[in-house]
């Protein structure tokens, strides 16, 4: 541990450092056990999960694109009950070790979001917070279909807010961010996770078909990074609630850009596929950078971008 205090308060959750993991790219945490000490991280966010199991989309679900990848997993998940049973013990233990566990909530409709959140609140007492995913680009109902207008996103938040006393975060789609962020803040969101993957398209020009099973998929990886930094900056100027920056973080400097743009925490996504221990490496690099900036706490660097 260096001399800089890395602890941050994110949406009422005390994190020992700002590094989090992006939902859907870190499984339920235990998949990384053999590669790193997961409990070094400030938080992990688990794969989006609904009240009932979802099968996800047909194969192929992934294709590489220059500078990133495109997926159409479609929120395959075992349902909250199975999730809590299978991963609960590991995640409760992780919580005990001081790493906040944020559980992501999926749904096809307002009712489904509420149902999932009710189950989560009941079955996952160890959870530090819940993150509502109104931004998945790979499902036909719910996700981005609901979260891409201020009205749609607010409606989900309004229904979910009374369900739990725990902090509620919202994973945002990469569209109309300042407006939607303000609407979510007004409905009582405690924090915002910015951004979910940007919808893209990759056509095999020989077969004239999509390289994945749906016409479009969600893009991840370095190609998103400058776009995501801009979006985080815009959201941080629009609202007072804290933001977790996500998108193409491969290095500590990438994470530092989010911090400077105003993010209180930063989630590592696709990088964990390339290098399973990327998140801890990025944490250490971020800490080194903070030291190089001559501050005593990382908090001094949040939003320290000078226009």
């Amino acid at each position: 541990m260096g001399k800089v205090s890395m602890a941050v308060d994110f949406a009422g959750i005390k994190l020992k450092n700002p590094i989090n993991t992006a939902a859907g790219t870190f499984g339920q945490g235990w998949q990384f056990m053999n590669f790193m000490d997961v409990s070094e991280l400030g938080a992990i966010t688990t794969k989006g999960c609904a009240a009932e199991p979802w099968p996800g989309n047909p194969k192929p679900r992934m294709t590489e694109v220059p500078g990133g990848m495109m997926n159409s997993v479609g929120l395959q998940n075992p349902g909250v009950r199975a999730f809590a049973e299978e991963s609960g013990p590991y995640l409760a233990d992780l919580t005990d070790k001081g790493t906040a566990v944020i559980c992501q909530v999926a749904g096809h409709s307002v009712e489904e979001y509420v149902a999932a959140l009710e189950l989560f609140d009941e079955l996952c007492p160890w959870a530090a917070a819940f993150e509502i995913n109104v931004s998945c680009p790979n499902i036909s109902a719910g996700g981005a279909a609901m979260g891409s207008t201020p009205e749609g996103a607010a409606e989900v938040m309004r229904a979910c807010r009374p369900v739990t006393k725990k902090p509620l975060l919202v994973k945002m789609a990469p569209v109309r961010l300042p407006e939607i962020a303000r609407a979510l803040e007004a409905e009582g969101a405690d924090g915002l996770t910015v951004i979910n993957s940007i919808p893209g398209m990759a056509i095999d020009v020989h077969t004239r078909r999509s390289k994945i099973s749906r016409p479009t998929g969600g893009l991840s990886g370095p190609l998103l990074h400058p776009i995501a930094v801009r979006m985080v900056w815009e959201v941080c100027q629009a609202v007072d609630i804290p933001v977790c920056g996500v998108g193409g973080v491969m290095t500590g400097e990438d994470a530092a850009e989010f911090i400077l743009a105003g993010a209180t925490s930063v989630a590592v996504g696709m990088a964990s596929f390339v290098d399973p221990a990327a998140s801890v490496r990025i944490l250490h690099e971020l800490e080194e950078w903070a030291e190089s900036q001559g501050v005593s706490s990382i908090n001094e660097l949040i939003g320290a971008f000078e226009c």
């Binding site: 859907g24 679900r61 992934m62 220059p66 399973p276």
Partner: protein, 257 residues
């Protein structure tokens, strides 16, 4: 994560290379049917690892041999790695073949670049003294691999087929397998197949008809290779299962083709 060094990397057929890497721990632990997920440097725009089965492991020499087809940018870059080049890989990944208890005789079917995991299995069967017959296929003579190695492993290769008829039987390697299963299915306790998915589906159907347990090794687009991403899902009779953790080898009866 294993740091590995290329020992050799040479073409063995049209568009197919044999890569030998130095990876002592891996060589001791990897089991037939499992795979590695290897980083291939050289293109900053291409970030993900490449999942590859292995053809043989030499625990004493500390080496693992992989056979791969050059089909795109990643495998093209892999083919350019010279002896001494360093990289890293994740593995062993997934579950390998499960030879049934008391198996008397096995039928192996391998198409194209599906040969390597089947070859590992053949060597394992030979080591356990279980006889087996093999049916292999390729698009053409030029890209056929494994014939000599299966011979050397001790199998009476019952048939070699090429899609274009340039060598062996003109047609698919499934034909011979289907015939064997129909005529003498009762002599087999285990069928194992790897190759193009339609081929494995055919073999699975024939095995089911003959009442012989069958395993298949499936390929999926993989992002992580260790259960974290769900991009590798296989539809099974008991729901979606990840090819990287529950597979790549599946009980064929379980697979929804």
């Amino acid at each position: 994560m294993h740091d590995v060094t290329v020992v050799s990397n040479e073409p063995i057929a049209d568009g197919v290379y044999a890569l030998v890497i130095n990876a002592p721990k891996l060589a001791q632990t990897i089991k037939p049917g499992q795979f590695v997920n290897i980083a291939v440097p050289g293109n900053a725009m291409s970030l993900l690892r490449i999942p590859l089965s292995y053809a043989s492991a030499d625990a004493e020499a500390g080496t693992v041999e992989i056979w791969y087809a050059v089909v795109g940018d990643g495998t093209e870059r892999l083919s350019q790695m010279k002896p001494g080049a360093k990289t890293d890989l994740l593995g062993p990944g997934g579950n390998g073949w499960t030879i049934p208890e008391g198996c008397r005789r096995a039928l192996l079917v391998a198409g194209g670049i599906g040969v390597p995991p089947v070859l590992c299995l053949a060597r394992e069967l030979a080591a356990r003294g279980i006889p087996y017959t093999v049916s292999i296929g390729a698009a053409s003579k030029g890209c056929l691999v494994g014939e000599d190695e299966f011979e050397a492993a001790g199998a009476p290769v019952i048939s070699v087929a090429t899609d274009d008829g340039s060598y062996g039987y003109h047609g698919f390697c499934t034909a011979a397998a289907e015939q064997v299963l129909e005529l003498e299915g009762g002599e087999f306790d285990y069928v194992a197949a790897c190759g193009p998915e339609p081929m494995m589906a055919k073999v699975a159907a024939a095995a089911a008809k003959a009442g012989v347990p069958c395993e298949v090794s499936l390929e999926r687009m993989m992002s992580c290779g260790f259960g974290a991403c769900s991009t590798c899902a296989v539809e099974t009779t008991s729901g979606m299962k990840g090819a990287c953790m529950c597979g790549p080898v599946f009980n064929a009866e379980e697979v929804v083709w």
